[in-house]
Amino acid sequence: MKSCLIVDDSRVVRKVARRIAEDLGFQCEEAEDGQKAYEACESTMPDAILLDWNMPIMSGIEFLEKLREMENGKGPKVIFCTTENDMNHIQRAIQAGADEYIMKPFDSEIIESKFIQIGLLEQSA
């Protein structure tokens, strides 16, 4: 089973994202900020990370930059999932090594289509 780390400071968003990812067949872990996400990756590197941008302690973009420098840190597919919806933020995220980008609000269809695009899910028949 593929694993997904859900990083968001909102418990509600984590819960919604978790339910969608679990329905798509992922085994999920949660982290409430970038620092906690970093620690989670140190212990086990997930296959996918759904990543919020604005969080206390360590932001999503800071976490992503640190992650990509970790040993095996290039492995996980990272999907930003944020209310930041302008081209500058998108470009910055992709430059920092994000694989995809979701502008909130999202629904299960959007998350599924992004997982398919980055090759973590098969297109259903």
């Binding site: 919806n85 302008d86 081209m87 998108i90 470009q91 992709i94 995809e100 980008y101 979701i102 502008m103 999202f106 629904d107 269809e109 959007i110 289509s113 992004k114 398919i116 695009q117 297109q123 028949a125």
Partner: protein, 285 residues
């Protein structure tokens, strides 16, 4: 809705657009026609239906047809057809067209996501096609939706369904809460009104026809007629794309499924159908 009223709309839609409305779709009729009744100043759908029993304004009829024809679509809808477009179809035309010209017809273009997906794919493949010209002709039965397609402005939801972020960054311009395709991609697609029930004599001959998820709304006889007409407007080695729930089997002999490529069809007698026979004969030998 009364059964006689349902029959009235059913007959109208069948004769004007070929759309077949089954009884279980009467909820659709009400939900889509209520806004039309409001737009035309009727107190209720029943009041509009009364007018329909007389001699209605032709523009009202057009509005009704537009409201009833579904426009469900997205960028890279179903994704696989676009892989086949790149890997099978473009690979073939590249070696089979010394005149370096490819003509594509999207026969149910809706709000433009399908023709623009093709335009972006062709743009991405441009370095493999130096000196080539691509013509994307996109038609639909709804003028309102064609105007949306020409404007090429999409909501945040629409640009996130199926569209890779790299393509959004490359080809879209943010405009408030909308995302608009750039002039280069918009300029690659030519839009026109066309009703698939009309004679196709005004159309040209195409290398590739996309007619996905539209035949499902027609009865068998109409499907057969449309596919038969299309066979007269496609190159002998051309390709036809149909939707996942659509088939030519039992409907027409003009097209046959390309073996191993779901949703892809070729003209009867085409080399795309033979190739596979040879390989299977080899496999048996």
């Amino acid at each position: 809705m009364k059964i006689t009223d349902f029959e009235l709309y059913k007959d109208l839609l069948k004769s004007k657009s070929g759309l077949v409305l089954s009884q279980d779709k009467s909820y659709l009729l009400e939900s889509r026609l209520n806004p039309v009744a409001k737009k035309w100043g009727y107190d209720s759908l029943d009041a509009m239906t009364m007018t329909m029993q007389g001699v209605p304004d032709p523009e009202l009829i057009t509005d009704i047809i537009e409201a009833m024809t579904t426009n469900e679509t997205s960028f890279f809808r179903d994704s696989r057809p676009f892989d086949m477009f790149k890997d099978v179809v473009l690979a073939h035309v590249k070696q089979a067209r010394p005149q370096k010209k490819i003509k594509i017809w999207c026969a149910a273009a809706s709000s433009g996501q399908e023709p623009y997906t093709l335009a972006m794919l062709l743009k991405e493949a441009a370095s493999d096609f130096p000196g080539w010209s691509f013509e994307i002709y996109a038609t639909d039965i709804s003028n309102e939706i064609l105007n949306q397609a020409r404007e090429a402005k999409y909501s945040q939801f629409e640009v996130q369904r199926g569209l890779p972020i790299q393509l959004l960054m490359k080809y879209f311009i943010q405009d408030g809460d909308k995302w608009q395709l750039n002039d280069e991609i918009r300029g690659m697609v030519k839009y026109d009104y066309f009703n698939l029930m009309e004679p196709m004599s005004k159309l040209g001959t195409y290398d590739i026809i996309f007619c996905r998820n539209v035949l499902i709304y027609f009865d068998e006889e109409t499907k057969g007629k449309i596919l038969g007409d299309m066979a007269g407007h496609i190159e002998k080695d051309g390709f036809l794309f149909l939707g996942g729930a659509e088939t030519v089997l039992g409907i027409t002999d003009a097209f046959k499924p390309v073996p191993g490529q779901r949703g892809l069809y070729a003209v009867e007698g085409s080399e795309h159908l033979e190739q596979k026979k040879e390989t299977s004969a080899q496999a048996l030998a």
